[in-house]
Amino acid sequence: MRVKALRRARVPVGLAGTVGVAAAALAGCFDVHSVDPGPVVLDDFESHDNRMPADPDFSIWSCGKYNPPTNEGVSCDYAMPGYDSDYSFSLQAEVTDDRDLRMDHAGAALVTHVVGDPVDMTRFETVTFAAKVVSGNPPLPSQAQLLVELFCKNAKTEDGTRSDELRVDQVAAFKNDWLVVPLEMRNFTTLTSSTHIKGGTLACLKQVDSVRFAVNAELEDGGSARFTLWIDNITFQ
């Protein structure tokens, strides 16, 4: 009797099972998958959005000269074309080393500041960007440098004081045509800056508040130079 009942039960139980399987198949309708979003893009300048970087953690791009610091004789804006794209960002500057019997390391730079809390850059292994530096008249000296500088004003110096100038940096290769430059985070150092950071490079990378692309003209005392820097596709990986 029980066997018969169970045999009879096969069909409806099978039907219920079929319903379940069909429902399970229905569940598979959302055939979705994730994609690799790629590197964090600080900016590729394609949005043309009032100098706002693509990464919302950063504020608008600005430019200026340093040693001495001034906004005169320098300008920056979106430029065409970009590296394998429509737009890039360019800096045009004329820098002069004041005649004071010493090299002032005058230069000009593009900078974007972090919005809100400092960014921990140690989660990235490399920063990559495309750059092009075209010398003008007077030309850049051959020893001119392209620097990538990561500022960390919340870090402390070895003597425990704070400074807006605390940073780690790295020299990047450049030429007068587009060059994609990958820089490893571990190679950022404080060697080119005048002060040492308590905790070293790592302490600075953990609390970066500004990213700066600087052309250090390395002019002789009293010398001057004109140049244009193009930057594009700045990514962190």
Binding site: R8, G20, A23, L26, V32, V40
Partner: protein, 345 residues
């Protein structure tokens, strides 16, 4: 040739009349008027005996609580129908017969006076000694024994389903008058030494003891619980399936968004900010939709399991109901067992 037509026409007329009775019987049975339906089926069978009508007679007898008559009709149905009865119907009827037989009680009647007329419910069933137990339906029955001299003893017995009882009727010295009494089941009848001709002092009525519930009664008690549980579980299963469908429908437009985003990614430069932005948005959607998939899957499988469980419980309940005698009546207005009234044989 001509001699063959007249009987054929007569038979045809009888079949037509029987067909009408049969159709009325079906209609009455469908209305729950089993007594009237039985009359129509009996009439149809009388007018044109066809084995298939016996099936309906049997079902009507079951509905009316006449297991003995049902057994008789269904047994004859299987016998007369022979290989014309489809296997499935044969199995069903055999199952019914088995259940009906299990409900039949047997009463062994013993008297101390040979040749006493034994009556059950007023119907003579033989003269003492009866060599075989009387098969009776469960319920109260009036048993009487009457000697040739007119002395009579009457007892009332209550038979349970499948119960076997023994009843001893002492007629020696009994008055020729009716003395209703009752007998305790499975016990010697309390026949008091009533003085003759004293109908005013009948033997005290022994309490009619209901027999212990027979085995099918227990599952029958369990039946409603199983049935209700199956409904509840089925409702839960359906709710889960409905919820799965709801989650699916709720997320469909999001899936459309994901697909659109995916298509947009294909046309966006990989590594660009736009690609990353779109990819991150799409990945968020994908993550959410994956969660929805899990929810749908869980609900669907849970619902399916619940439905399967409900069906199983329902079938078990059906089985118990069958075992306890709660037949569902099945009439035979069509199919292989249909009465071929129009045939002329």
């Amino acid at each position: 040739m001509g001699g063959g037509w007249a009987p054929c026409r007569a038979a045809e007329t009888a079949r037509e009349a029987a067909a009408a009775d049969y159709a009325r019987g079906i209609a009455l049975a469908n209305d729950g008027l089993y007594e009237a339906a039985l009359e129509q089926f009996d009439s149809a069978y009388t007018k044109s005996p066809h084995f298939a009508v016996l099936y309906n007679i049997g079902q009507a007898q079951i509905a009316l609580g006449h297991p003995l008559e049902a057994i008789a009709a269904l047994t004859k149905y299987l016998h007369d129908g022979a290989d014309q009865v489809p296997l499935s119907r044969r199995e069903q009827v055999q199952a019914q017969l088995g259940l009906l037989e299990a409900r039949i009680a047997e009463l062994t009647i013993i008297t101390d006076t040979p040749r006493a007329v034994i009556r059950v419910d007023g119907r003579e069933v033989g003269r003492a000694p009866l060599f075989q137990p009387i098969r009776l339906a469960a319920g109260p029955h009036v048993i009487s024994a009457t000697t040739l001299a007119g002395a009579e003893v009457t007892r009332t017995v209550l038979l349970g389903e499948g119960e076997r009882q023994r009843l001893e009727l002492a007629l020696a010295g009994a008055a020729p008058a009716r003395k209703p009494a009752s007998a305790a089941p499975s016990a010697p009848p309390p026949v008091p030494a009533s003085p003759p001709l004293e109908p005013a002092a009948p033997p005290p009525l022994a309490p009619i003891t209901a027999p212990a519930p027979s085995s099918p009664a227990a599952p029958a008690a369990r039946g409603p619980f199983l049935r209700r549980a199956s409904y509840a579980v089925a409702a839960a299963g359906l709710a889960a399936e409905g919820a799965a469908l709801g989650v699916y429908l709720w997320n469909r437009h999001r899936y459309d968004d994901w697909q659109a985003g995916n298509a947009a990614l294909a046309t966006t430069t990989q590594g660009s900010a736009a690609y990353r932005k779109q990819a991150l948005a799409n990945n968020d959607l994908a993550s959410s939709l994956t969660s929805a998939n899990h929810a749908i899957l869980g609900l669907a499988i849970g619902g399916g399991v619940a439905l399967a469980g409900a069906v199983t419980m329902f079938l078990l309940d059906q089985r118990e109901r069958h075992r306890s005698g709660e037949f569902s009546l099945g009439w035979a207005p069509g199919g292989a067992t249909t009465v071929e009234w129009r045939a002329c044989w």
